[in-house]
């Protein structure tokens, strides 16, 4: 099994930490992982993205030009990464702020309105965990127990009391994600 993912959005949306939790979940499941952030000036107030790879075998390149899954959280990232999803691959996006929705018909498209849901849950900061939950519903590559273990590893101990809230957000993400049909 190998899953090559890009997560892209605004700085501050928790893009990098979502990637880190996913990578740590892979470590907990005894998989090979890599986490490669775009650390350049673009992440300072602009867009942020991270490439995460989980694999049963040794990972070659941490840098990719096409992805099994793109998780897209703003319009700039949609413009940049929609074309880079492998044919037959998966695109997951939050509709908030998206003015041009994805148009490709050779990939599977899902929508998870996590911004809206996080606001409804009065837990804006769990936004990225709602997205992660949506992703794991579509691609259950790591077990929930390993995600929780990954959360524990990536959060400092003083934040461990927030784990149940994050777990709830992950579950909620799985419930609200919907496949978008482009076949009219």
């Amino acid at each position: 099994m190998k899953e090559e993912i890009v997560i892209a959005g605004f700085g501050g949306q928790g893009v990098l930490s979502m990637g880190k939790i996913l990578a740590y979940s892979g470590v907990m499941q005894d998989m090979e992982v890599s986490w490669m952030p775009a650390y350049g000036p673009e992440m300072r107030g602009g867009t942020a993205n991270v490439t995460v790879i989980l694999s049963d075998e040794r990972i070659s390149s941490p840098i990719l030009h096409e992805y099994d899954t793109a998780i897209i959280l703003n319009q700039q990232s949609m413009d940049k990464f929609e074309k880079d999803v492998k044919p037959g691959g998966t695109l997951i996006y939050d509709g908030n702020g998206i003015t041009r929705h994805p148009e490709r018909t050779d990939i599977n498209i899902y929508r998870v309105d996590a911004t809206e849901e996080a606001a409804r849950m009065h837990a804006v900061k769990t936004f990225n965990m709602i997205v992660l939950g949506g992703y794991l519903k579509v691609k259950p590559i790591v077990k929930m127990e390993n995600v929780i273990a990954g959360l524990k590893k990536s959060l400092p101990e003083r934040h461990h009391h927030l784990i149940p809230m994050n777990e709830k957000a992950i579950t909620r993400g799985g419930e609200i994600i919907n496949e978008v049909s482009l076949v009219e």
Binding site: K20, E32, M36, P37, P41, S61, I63, H65, K153
Partner: protein, 360 residues
């Protein structure tokens, strides 16, 4: 007990240094390597192993603090990124001229000048061809994973003390910033004063009555003395070239084409090799792990077998010169690489292979 952690290459360097029993780290922050000192400061090794961690006032100060520590037989290191390493060149040639061991990490970013904070491999010439003045060499290790970032710290110190020579770990922004699984080694104690005195009698540890002064210097005003010293250095470098070459080969046995790449570019090319093989192109990869000494002989061997070689590096073409020198025009050698902070993708390397070697 295997302890697996997910960490950045820069963090791995810091953790490995503490565990290897390093005596001192002197540095000055610069992206993309600042996590080295940040991690050391957070870990506070001065409270556990007694390791000194000090933010110097500049890179020039850092390398000269290293010079001082190394002169006392201590295991000392610094790290920086390209513009900072340029500032260290005077110190490096003095260290080489005084035959002092130390480890310097360069997490390379795009240049020239202040350049960009994004990854590059354009400091190859500076590292393996000199950088500072005079006939000296830096033993150079090029890690291609976070695990190697950790492992090479101790390897580098071993080599530095074996040959009394500075060792460079030449990394880049990709390996420094990415996170991977790392297995860290057990803690080793720092060397005691007695150990240093017995095993490194050249060190300035305080003169005893029964021995002559230890003088550490890189100045020999008499030309004949300086020439003799240079011969000594050259003999040492010959030993290094004979004994310390490290490389890794992937899918080379039946290869008709060869990619040569180091560090993060080698990781990218590993994927390119997989993609090209799917297309039926028989390509293999040779990854130099030591850039100095360079795996010249192995390249000569592979040149007998392949139709062409592509040197892939994140520069305008630096290592390609060493590949060409090794191959002696026996097969075509081409260069490919993005640079100035841009990183080539696995697909771009396959395209270059097809256009420059196969289709061409």
């Amino acid at each position: 007990m295997r302890e697996l952690k997910l960490m950045k290459g820069n963090e791995a360097i810091a953790e490995a240094a503490i565990r290897a029993g390093v005596d001192g780290y002197f540095g000055y922050p610069i992206t993309p390597q600042s996590e080295v000192m940040e991690t050391l400061m957070a870990e506070k090794p001065w409270e556990t192993t007694g390791m000194v961690v000090l933010q110097a006032e500049s890179e020039i100060a850092s390398i000269n603090m290293v010079y001082g520590g190394a002169g006392c037989g201590k295991r000392v290191m610094t790290s920086s990124s390209s513009p900072g390493v340029s500032l260290m060149q005077e110190g490096l040639t003095y260290l080489a001229g005084a035959e002092l061991p130390c480890v310097v990490v360069n997490v390379v970013r795009g240049g020239p000048g202040l350049g960009t904070i994004q990854p590059a491999q354009s400091d190859y010439f500076q590292t393996v061809k000199g950088g500072g003045h005079g006939d000296y060499k830096l033993i150079t290790l090029a890690p291609a994973s976070v695990q190697e970032m950790a492992d090479f710290v101790e390897t580098a110190f071993d080599l530095a003390f074996k040959y009394r020579n500075p060792v460079m770990i030449l990394s880049d922004g990709v390996i420094g910033q990415m996170m991977e699984k790392v297995e860290l080694k057990e803690f080793k104690p720092r060397w005691t004063a007695d150990y240093i005195e017995q095993n490194h009698p050249w060190a300035t540890t305080g003169k005893k009555k029964d021995r002559a002064k230890n003088i550490i210097t890189s100045v020999q005003l008499e030309a004949s003395v300086q020439e003799a010293f240079n011969h000594k250095l050259q003999n040492k470098y010959q030993q290094v070239e004979e004994n310390e070459v490290l490389f890794e080969e992937t899918m080379c046995d039946d290869a008709e084409y060869l990619v040569v790449a180091y560090g993060s570019s080698a990781r990218i090319c590993q994927k390119s090799v997989e993609l090209a093989r799917e297309k039926g192109i028989k390509v293999g990869m040779l990854r130099p792990i030591t850039l100095y000494p360079f795996p010249t002989r192995q390249l000569q061997e592979r040149a007998k077998q392949v139709k062409g070689i592509l040197s892939v590096e994140m520069s305008a073409g630096q290592m390609v010169e060493d590949v060409k020198l090794a191959v002696e025009c026996k097969v075509p050698v081409e260069h490919y690489g993005r640079f100035g902070g841009s990183v080539h993708s696995p697909g771009e390397v396959v395209e270059a292979l097809e256009q420059k070697l196969i289709g061409g």
